[in-house]
């Protein structure tokens, strides 16, 4: 049984149809990357999967349970998904440690002691332990994103969703974050990642889902997608992506 199954997902905003029947599957332990031109609906797709955006029609099945039916427990669903935002979205009034422990204490209902221990452990894993008392405004972009990843990871989610995690970062910081994502990849964390970082797509994924104008054009491994693909839209896209090496 797949972890996530998406069948014919459609999303319409007012008069614009952003997703026109998307199908995808994610199994436990897999890492898939979603790529495509601007406006293809990548972020909308991700946000439909944890119901931050309400799908117009179609089916999403998460761990065997259909979450697109009415009356679904949205909170419970979201507690099992770790979401990482493009612009970090750290809670600006809390330091790194508190950013991580807030969810642990209030959602996972851990005691302060347990939450702190867990937070310390997770922060150590990504090398952010020394920054635990800093506030978001005092961190660099790469540090902020790493903190955001820890905040999501510490909740022990079943899957991690990353929405353009490196798009707001300069190359050096992007590398910091990519190395963390790589670590998670090697530890078999299930991930779905929207990105236009070709390096990430090539080396840190099991397959790439190419989305264009609301439909999945192709799903394949990087080697076959990036170079001289028969589909002109795909070929055009990857020609314009710089530095595919």
């Amino acid at each position: 049984m797949a972890l996530i199954e998406v069948k014919n997902l459609v999303k319409q905003f007012d008069d614009k149809i952003v997703l026109k029947g998307v199908n995808l599957e994610l199994n436990e332990g897999q890492v898939k990357v979603i790529m495509g031109p601007s406006g293809c609906g990548k972020s909308t797709l991700l946000r439909c999967l944890n119901l931050l955006v309400q799908p117009t029609s179609g089916q999403i099945i998460f761990r065997g349970e259909e979450i697109t039916r009415p009356g679904v427990d949205v909170r419970r669903l979201r507690r099992n998904i770790g979401f990482v935002f493009q612009h970090f979205a750290l809670y600006s009034h809390l330091n790194v440690q508190d950013n991580v422990t807030l969810g642990l204490r209030k959602i996972r209902k851990m005691s302060a002691r347990e939450a702190t221990d867990k937070a310390f452990h997770e922060l150590e894993r990504v090398g952010m332990f020394d920054h635990r008392n800093k506030y978001p405004a005092q961190l660099s972009g790469g540090q902020k994103q790493r903190a955001a990843i820890v905040r999501a990871l510490a909740m022990d989610p079943v899957v991690m969703f990353l929405d353009e995690p490196t798009s707001s970062l300069d190359p050096e910081m992007a590398r910091e974050v990519v190395s963390v994502i790589n670590k998670l990849y090697l530890e078999n964390v299930t991930m779905l990642c929207v990105t236009h970082d070709a390096f990430l797509a090539k080396y840190i994924s099991d397959s790439i889902i190419f989305l264009d104008e609301g439909v999945v054009l192709e799903e394949d491994i990087a080697e076959r997608l990036f170079y001289d693909h028969p589909n002109p839209r795909i070929r055009e896209f990857y020609l314009s992506v710089v530095d595919l090496k």
Binding site: N50, L52, R75, R76, L77, R78, R79, I81, F83, F85, H87, A89, L90, Y91, S92, H93, L102, G103, K106, I107, Y135, P136, A137, Q138, R151, A152, M155
Partner: protein, 217 residues
């Protein structure tokens, strides 16, 4: 009567001044907070009522409202104590200003952080309590301090309804000694001292709870 004696007599009214100021500010804070939270529900009728309230109570002079409450209401059968009159006038007006301040502060909380809280699985109540409220309060601090000093500066109106605060003591003294210049100078000094004391108090509190990088832009 020496200047020092004048100060001593006036200072006895200071307690009432501070009491009235604190009570009216507290009322204002409560109203401001409640209206801010209500406006989050995005119910049209409620939004209209809040807008009407803030417009009306920021457009009417404090003295006029005070007189409506204290002298006017008894005519239609409602007796109001002097203290309550101050709260229902200065307090309600202060609430209108604080309502605007709090709502502005609430809208300054970054949408993305609230989204992150929801993505984590927090309920709307939780995201309000742990994300919106702490930031909203911090953003409102300059406005709250401003409003407090404003209430302090309208508190002398309390003498018109008989509350024995500084101004009332002063007028009594002036009537007897006819040394208006010194007396009102002393009054000014006492108010100024109270003002500075509260400024220092707020500055210390603000420093204690300041968070690096947290500002409302």
């Amino acid at each position: 009567m020496t200047f020092w004696n004048i100060l001593r007599v006036l200072a006895s009214g200071a307690g009432f001044t501070i009491l009235v100021t604190v009570a009216c500010t507290a009322t204002g804070l409560l109203i401001g907070l409640v209206t801010a939270m209500l406006s989050r529900l995005h119910w049209r009728p409620v939004e209209i009522m809040i807008a009407a309230y803030t417009y009306t109570f920021r457009g009417i002079p404090v003295l006029v409202l005070l007189f409506i409450v204290f002298f006017g209401l008894p005519i239609v059968g409602i007796r109001v104590s002097p203290f309550l009159s101050m709260i229902l006038s200065l307090g309600l007006i202060s609430g209108a200003y604080l309502s605007e301040i709090f709502r502005g502060a609430m809208n300054s909380v970054r949408r993305e952080e609230i989204l992150a809280a929801e993505a984590m699985g927090m309920t709307r109540v939780q995201s309000f309590l742990y994300i919106v409220l702490p930031q909203m309060v911090r953003f409102s601090i300059p406005g709250m301090i401003n409003e407090f000093t404003s209430v302090l500066k309208y508190s002398p109106f309390a003498y018109t309804v008989g509350i024995p605060e500084i101004m009332k003591e002063a007028m009594g003294l002036a009537a007897v000694t006819l040394r208006g210049l010194e007396i009102y100078l002393a009054v000014g000094i006492i108010y100024f001292i109270i003002y500075r004391m509260f400024c220092m108090l707020f500055a210390t509190l603000e420093k204690r709870y300041r968070i690096p990088g947290l500002s409302a832009d």
